[in-house]
């Protein structure tokens, strides 16, 4: 039972991560490989505050969100000058820099040893420690993020995001503030990823930099693509498939030593197959193609 709850918590966490990246990559069309960096910023902020200042969970969560949002601003700025594959490189570089900061600021982040004994979240007078309580907290926050994301994509601001994705020049020509929208969606996406990070740190109680590598970022974008870019339910479905299927493989008796490689190989293979045969994903409506008039 605890195992099942654990898997469900992971599905909920990755749904949050995928939704956060879906806003950036699926709706605004800005492919980014640094979502795990924001996730890490959230996790470390919460962990450090809880360990050193013993502040309550909601305050840590808020601080994580604000800090990651600011980091999102830093990444978004180059996107105003470069686009598409060069922008992907920039996000990649940012991801690597954040990883090395977490790994090397040893006195601050614990370096490769990570941070231990992160206290369980305390909400007002309740301390959440069991799996079930944590699942409820994650699902509630996940639902909140889903609702916010939904409000965003159905708002006028959301329509500017579509416009950037489909035809940025046209959006500019129609007088839309494209730059502001890009920066804003990046900050929102980063802030949402930090919520997942904050939850993860409090749940696992032990974090180290290996949870926030570029491979993690690639996993998150795989979830977005396989579930369907530009569809919020797609991100939930993608997280469900990419977390649960490898767990099932565990039951058919995979040797432990290669299980990790096999899981990643599975993500990679699924990503290739989807990009070739169903680039819009299971539920999505965007296949990373610019719509060209007259073609």
């Amino acid at each position: 039972m605890a195992y099942l709850l654990h898997v469900l918590i992971l599905v909920a966490l990755y749904s949050i991560l995928a939704i956060s990246l879906n806003l950036i990559s699926g709706y605004a069309g800005l492919v980014s490989l640094c979502q795990a960096a924001f996730y890490g910023v959230g996790a470390y902020t919460t962990a450090l505050l809880a360990l050193n200042l013993h502040t309550p969970f909601l305050l840590n969560l808020l601080a994580s969100v604000i800090l990651a949002g600011t980091a999102g601003l830093v990444v978004a700025l180059p996107s105003l000058r470069i686009r598409d594959d060069y922008f992907v490189m920039a996000t990649f570089a940012f991801q690597v820099v954040v990883y090395h900061l977490l790994n090397n600021l040893i006195s601050f982040t614990g370096g490769p040893m990570g941070l231990h004994a992160i206290p369980a979240p305390r909400l007002f007078w309740i301390t959440l420690s069991g799996h079930l309580g944590f699942l409820i907290l994650t699902v509630v926050l996940g639902a909140l993020i889903f609702w916010v994301a939904r409000r965003i994509v159905s708002s006028p601001f959301g329509r500017i995001l579509f416009a950037i994705r489909e035809d940025e020049v046209l959006a500019l020509a129609r007088g839309k503030n494209v730059n502001q929208a890009k920066v804003l969606v990046f900050m929102i996406g980063a802030a949402m990823a930090a919520v997942a990070g904050s939850l993860y740190a409090s749940y696992i109680t032990y974090i180290d930099p290996t949870s926030f590598t570029v491979l993690e970022s690639i996993l998150i974008i795989s979830i977005v693509i396989i579930g369907g870019a530009g569809n919020l339910w797609g991100s939930v479905l993608g997280a469900l498939i990419l977390i649960v299927v490898p767990e099932l493989l565990r039951f058919v008796g995979m040797p432990g030593a290669i299980a990790g490689n096999l899981r990643q190989g599975f993500y990679g293979l699924l990503l290739i197959l989807f990009v070739i045969w169903r680039p819009q994903g299971l539920l999505g409506d965007y296949s990373f193609q610019k719509v060209k008039a007259g073609k």
Partner: protein, 291 residues
Amino acid sequence: MQQLVANGVLAAAIYVMVATGFALIYATSRFLHFAHAVVFTAGAYFALFLATRIGLPLAFSVLLALVLSAVLGCLAELVVYRPLRRRGSSPLVLLLSALGIYIVLQNGISMLFGDDLKIIPGLDSGPSFTIGLARVTPVQIVTIATGALCVVATAIVLKTTRVGKMMRAVASDSELAEISGVRAGSVILASFAVGSVLAGLAGVLVALDTAMTPDMGLNVFLMAAAAMILGGVESIPGIALGALLVGLTQHFGVWLLGSQWQDAIAFTILLIALAVRPQGLLGKRAVRATA
């Protein structure tokens, strides 16, 4: 100090080999072939496999490893990229598929060979030379010489030979090249073959100098990409300059801040370069994928 320069130049030689191959592929096919990172790694493991498990002589293993690297690069192009391109997929889609290929192959190598450090035995590193105050091994001298040779050879091939001209034609406008009777598909395939040989060669040289791990390609590839972007995609001398800049900054950064910061320094430079001068130091224009 001189040791720092020697180490920086050595790193630059590796980066320039990977970057030249990568730039060649990028110039003709217009997308970031991320799996280039794993071709570099595969080159080293091919040599290891041939030399230790099959037992071929070292020189022959290395040569065969280069051929296999070329085959690997071409397979990626033929099996994944070309069908996607036929369907008119955007460079972003190709980039995403390349990420998938990278993950699958890197984990494949991990499963076959394990994650621990591997070295190719049978090569006595020989006496190390002292140039000025820097100590270098024969393998390192070969690496630096090969790096320099690759730059010059690639530049000459692109400028003077028929294949080189066709590559430049496809790079500047593949539709126009196609109209003039150049088969863009074959030219792209050729650039994958040449680029993959360069990456595999760099991988083998690193493995001979130090050791190999399944994830060694990623960092080198990112540094090479940084060198390429810093130098400007269309300029081979620019890429060489970029590689030197990245290699030297990395090692001087190590001297100033400690070895753990070398990657962070290089990528911070890349981020700044992308924000300030995306067309590169010697490049003429920023490369826009969706022109």
